[in-house]
């Protein structure tokens, strides 16, 4: 494919621009950023790919802002035999127009035009290569994915096959790749990538295995039936054989049984003889036993006589012992009676002494009680006297207090009167006698006598003078009060029956005294009556003691004998103690003699018992002896001793005879060997039994086999086996066929793959030669490259140093990538070729290498009919090194309105219509489109 010109209208920032490209070699489109270089390439892609109805994001982004016009792209392209002009407008009034110029003129619009262009491009152009040979802006120039590129493959195929010069158009070898894919698909129907069976093959294998299993099962079942059939025949034969053997054996058994029966009867005879011998021997033994019993009886009678003698002797010996015991007992009894009497007398004496002591003690107590009684009576009399005094007294404590109060009031009244009364002081310079109120008063010289004037007073010097002093009215009142008080006192005293206060006080004192005395008497009474309660009880106690003493007369306290002196009592007590001790000793002695007496009694009783026992024994012995003797006598009467001995001898002889007879019979039988006969009979019977068992077993097995056969008959094993065999044969055939197909697929795949590998390896060489040719311009002549079958550079060797591609510097990777693309462009057939588009690459390349790369561009595009190379750049100096480049400077293409606003002068020669030569840009001002 070759691009002749591209026109953009209202596409992103471009208002209207047409770029004409060089037919071959390098075209450098240079311009500032945002001038629309990349847009040009993007517009081409959209033109070829997007239908005019598309509203893809790229298209919507291509619409310039604020302009009511759809983006529009037009391109003139030649590819293969075709040359056409293709125009598209999107979004606003979408439109597609195609004008085919060569080989035949065609005019198409709309979807037809789009379809036609797609068909033309598919037919003539390797679209994948078109993408692969492009270097986008701002991306590292890496490896191009060139393996499997149809156009390149064709070119390499041509190169590998020695360059036939392309006289005849060769068919597309890429068909073969599809063939390999289909071969793989075919193989995958039978085998997985790891080689395991799958799909049809697996199904066939499973079916075959199942069929084999089923066939085996049926075959085994059939064989089992066959075995059973054979077994039945064998069992029938065996049963017949057993029957024959049983019949043959029966005769032998009968003969043996007869012999055995004969022996049996003789055996019984021997047995009888043995019985007789045993019986005779038993009878002989019996006779011997009888004789021995008689001898024993005689011995027993003698023994009994000895026992009787012994018993009699013992009885006699005991009689003396018995008498001695009785004497002893008599002596003991006498001693005991004497001791008991002595004890009684002593006890009486002791009692009397104790009574004397008791009487003495009672008398002392009686005296004491009498004394007490007397004192009680004294106290009682005193108490009565005092109480009489108390009763006579009229003045009690309260009355006395009243009197005292009254007397005090009187004194106060007097004092008040005296204090208020006028005084008459009498002073005589000389001893003088005066009469005061009729009394004579002696006045010593200088003595002053003061006289209160209560009532009227009369002081008179006898003869001299009579002075009358009368008190005033007040004083008279006071005097009345005194008199009132005095009267009250006197009345009260009269009430109380006393003369005056003093008398009252005396009366009171007398009463108190009497009360105290009464208390004392009461205390004395209480003291004397302590322990008795009251006088009556005391008297009762006194009377009781008197009674004890035997004095029944009237109580007379003072007529009682004086109590015995203490000394007499002590003597009495001592005598009493002595008497008691003597009594105790006598009692002890009496006890001792009593015990001795009892012991003697026991001894006598023992002796009595023993005597009785001995007597009994003697009697028994005599009795036994008499009985034995009687027995012996009776026995001898029945059978004399001599007869017994004779019988014994006779029986012994008989027994020996019988035993001899038995022995002879037994020996005769033993000669005929009955044991052997018995063993043979038993064996014959066992054989018979075994044969019967065998017959039973055969019968049972026969029944079992028959049962199995009947069951098998209903299973239809033949049908199952036939079906299994048919299925197995079919499965084998099926499996063989599938396995054959699988093997064929494997073989075809392997063969194809092997040849493709070989061819791919052959493609590497021409490609490498071309890349190396270009790369040596940059890196020097020592460079060599390693390239794999997918046409990727894997290693670079420079000056003998080999480095993996990935390990190379970004610059080197970029340069090698560019070389590979340019090599590809150089290799591909001109009719197959596509333009190499490089959008501002080589950012990593140093100036030295840039100039060398320029040479690479030239070398790559030097050949006649070499591909177009389009370089887009904003830094033209990078590409100055390219010799044969057509440089197209791009200026911004703005709308007229914008230009007016910018007040820019129109560029010179704007009205000239420039010639349409390659490498020119026509940027015409034009009227805004309608709409």
């Amino acid at each position: 494919m070759r691009l002749h010109r591209i026109r953009l209208r209202d596409f992103r920032g471009v208002h209207d621009r047409e770029v004409t490209l060089a037919e071959r070699g390098v075209t450098v489109l240079q311009g500032d950023n945002e001038v629309g270089k990349t847009s040009t390439v993007a517009a081409l892609d959209l033109l070829f790919d997007a239908a005019d109805s598309s509203r893809r994001l790229e298209i919507r982004q291509a619409q310039p802002a604020g302009v009511d016009a759809g983006p529009e792209v037009e391109a003139e392209v030649s590819t293969g035999p075709y040359r056409f002009v293709y125009r598209k407008r999107w979004l606003r009034r979408p439109r597609t127009e195609l004008t085919v110029i060569a080989p035949a003129a065609e005019q198409l619009t709309g979807a037809d035009a789009h379809a036609r262009v797609s068909a033309i491009l598919d037919e003539t152009m390797d679209r994948v290569l078109w993408r692969g040979l492009r270097v986008e802006q701002h991306t590292a120039v890496g490896q191009a994915d060139l393996g499997g590129q149809d156009a390149l493959t064709r070119a390499l195929d041509r190169a590998a096959s020695g360059g036939t010069g392309g006289t005849a158009p060769r068919p597309d070898p890429s068909v073969d790749d599809g063939l390999v894919e289909r071969a793989v698909e075919e193989l995958r129907r039978y085998r997985t990538p790891s080689g395991r069976a799958t799909g049809e093959l697996r199904t066939a294998e499973v079916r075959l295995a199942a069929a084999e299993t089923e066939y085996e099962r049926c075959r085994a079942a059939l064989e089992a039936v066959e075995r059973d059939v054979a077994a039945r025949d064998r069992l029938d034969a065996d049963a017949a054989a057993v029957r024959t053997r049983r019949r043959a054996h029966a005769a032998e058994v009968a003969e043996l049984e007869d012999r055995w029966a004969g022996l049996q009867s003789r055996l019984r005879e021997v047995e009888t003889a043995r019985g007789r011998a045993v019986l005779a021997r038993e009878r002989a033994d019996a006779a011997r036993e009888r004789r021995e019993a008689r001898d024993a009886l005689v011995g027993a009678v003698d023994a009994d006589a000895a026992v009787v003698t012994q018993a009699t002797e013992a009885l006699a010996a005991h009689a003396d012992e018995h008498a001695a015991a009785r004497d002893e007992r008599e002596a003991r009894r006498t001693a005991d009676a004497a001791a008991r009497e002595a004890s009684t007398a002593a006890r009486q004496q002791a009692d009397e002494a104790a009574r004397a002591v008791s009487a003495a003690r009672d008398r002392a107590e009686l005296a004491d009680l009498a004394e007490r009684l007397r004192r009680v009576e004294d106290a009682t009399a005193g108490l009565q006297r005092a109480e009489r005094v108390l009763a006579a007294t009229t003045v009690d404590a309260d009355d006395l207090a009243d009197l005292e109060d009254l007397a005090r009031d009187l004194m106060r009244a007097e004092a008040a009167r005296d204090a208020a009364a006028a005084r008459v002081e009498l002073t005589a310079p000389e001893a003088l006698t005066v009469e005061v109120d009729g009394e004579t008063v002696m006045l010593a010289p200088g003595e002053t006598r003061t006289l209160p004037v209560a009532g009227s007073r009369a002081v008179s010097l006898p003869g001299v003078l009579e002075v009358r002093v009368r008190p005033g009215l007040d004083e008279a009142g006071r005097d009345d009060a005194v008199r009132e008080r005095a009267r009250e006192l006197a009345e009260r005293c009269e009430d109380l029956g006393v003369a005056d206060l003093e008398a009252a006080r005396a009366a009171r004192r007398g009463a108190d005294d009497a009360a105290r005395r009464a208390e004392e008497h009461r205390a004395a009474l209480a003291r004397e009556l302590a322990g008795h309660g009251d006088a009556a009880a005391l008297r009762a106690a006194h009377d009781a003691v008197r009674e004890r003493l035997g004095e029944t007369g009237p109580a007379d306290l003072f007529s009682l004998a004086e109590p015995a002196p203490q000394a007499d009592v002590s003597a009495l007590r001592r005598a009493s103690d002595a008497a008691r001790e003597a009594g105790d000793a006598a009692a002890r002695r009496a006890d001792e003699t009593a015990a001795a007496c009892r012991a003697a009694e026991d001894a006598v009783r023992d002796a009595d018992t023993r005597a009785a026992v001995l007597t009994e024994r003697a009697a028994d012995a005599r009795h036994a002896h008499a009985r034995r003797a009687e027995e012996l006598r009776a026995a001898r009467e029945a059978e004399a001793d001599a007869d017994l001995a004779a019988a014994e001898d006779e029986r012994l002889v008989q027994a020996r005879e019988a035993e001899r007879e038995h022995e002879s019979l037994a020996a005769a039988l033993a000669d005929d060997d009955p044991d052997t006969v018995e063993v043979r009979v038993v064996n014959a019977r066992a054989v018979d039994e075994r044969l019967a068992g065998e017959a039973t077993r055969l019968e049972r097995e026969h029944a079992e086999t028959t049962g199995r056969l009947q069951a098998a008959g209903l299973e239809g094993w033949h049908d199952q086996h036939a079906a299994a065999a048919t299925e197995l044969e079919s499965a084998v055939r099926d499996h063989d066929a599938v396995a054959r197909r699988a093997a064929a697929a494997q073989r075809l795949h392997d063969t194809l793959a092997r040849h493709r590998e070989r061819v791919r390896r052959s493609y590497v060489a021409p490609f490498r030669a071309q890349v190396e040719r270009l790369a040596r311009i940059v890196f020097g002549s020592s460079l060599s490259l390693e390239i794999d079958e997918d046409l990727r550079i894997t290693h670079r060797t420079l000056d003998g140093t080999t480095v993996a591609f990935a390990a190379l510097s970004s610059g080197a990777q970029e340069q090698l990538g560019l070389c590979a693309r340019l090599a590809c462009a150089a290799l591909v057939d001109p009719s197959d070729g596509v333009p190499v588009v490089i959008d501002d690459a080589l950012g990593h390349t140093d100036p030295e290498r840039l100039s060398r790369l320029g040479a690479v561009f030239t070398a790559a595009t030097a050949a006649d009919g070499a591909a177009q190379v389009i370089v887009l750049t904003c830094t033209p100096e990078r590409y100055h090194g390219i010799g044969a480049a057509t440089v197209v400077p791009l200026a911004p293409s703005r709308r007229p309105g914008e230009r007016e606003r910018d007040r820019e002068a129109p560029p010179a020669g704007v009205d000239d219509t420039p010639a349409r030569a390659p490498g020119t840009v026509v940027d015409l001002p034009r009227a805004p489109r309608a709409g």
Binding site: D719, H721, L748
Partner: protein, 389 residues
Amino acid sequence: MRFVHTADWQLGMTRRVLGARPPKEAAGGLTGEAQARFAQARLDAVSALGRLADERGADFVLVCGDVFESNLVGPDVVARACEALGSFRTPVLLLPGNHDPADAACVFRRPDFVRRCPPYVTVLDTPGVHEVAPGVEVVAAPWRSKHPLTDLVGEQLAALGPASPGTLRVLAGHGELDVLDPDDDEPARIRRDGVLAALADGRVHYVALGDRHSAWTDDADDRIRHAGTPEVTDFDEVDPGHVLVVDLDDRAAQVVIETVGRWRFLRHDARLDTDEDLEALDAWLAAHPEKERTAVRLALVGTVSLRQRSRLDDLLAAHDHAFAAVEVLAQHSELATVPDDADLDDLDLHGFAADAASELFAAASPGGAADDEARDALRLLHRLVGTPR
């Protein structure tokens, strides 16, 4: 006296050539269906000979062995056989043969047979003379096991005294005559001399045999006969599908051969070299009537190209559906497939694919290793190239 002589019913037989039922496929699939129809055909033949016996007024039907394919056929086979016998109006005599011997597993003694067996059916499982009608005796020589060690018929004849006057005797046996199969190792062969002698001195008047599936008559005495199977069982049978209607007196037998079988087992030998040969084979197959009751065995000879081989496969596959079976005999087929230049040109390959095809071609051609796998790979390549991408 008239009776029907038949043998070798082989009820319960299946034929592998008729195909297996593919696993896990419902009953009534194509291949299972052919087996079922074949089984039904055998029963139909039995019913047909029953009707025939009735129409001809036969006194009895004598079946000389191999009534059943095996003693171990399923209860369904037994039941259907009894049903078919139930439609008879003539007494039937069944002789145990080598397929259904009167051994411990004998099908005639199985409860399912005994319960369903019609009363006029007699099983000749005891050797010796059986009186089947006044003045008619059948001398039975049944098989008692699968591998008898003696000539069973000869034994019976040796023990046989002369027939009482006016009595017709038919000997029923099963097995090959020693003249038909001179095999010294087989002890159970029927000695022809003894049979001829017995016929000659009038101890028997007719020798009815079974075991040979084709109708056959002895040259020396036409009273020694095989009836053959009433319905074909294999490709190598000469004259199957008949029963014999025998009119017998003490001097001679009048025999009418009646056909009851409807199936055919055909073997066809064909030479294939050219496209014309292929067309001829196609035409031969197409010309057959009653394909559904026909099994074909092809023995092919010749040399064909890949393309012709594909065509052959196609036409066989097409006919296979119409016939009960179409079998290509592998061991007898000497059909070589040799790719020719046209085959290679047809491929129209280039580049490495062309190289690969050439390699396979060389390996497959007779000059090379005549490699079957390579030939198959080439055929696959043809198919893949033919597939649109």
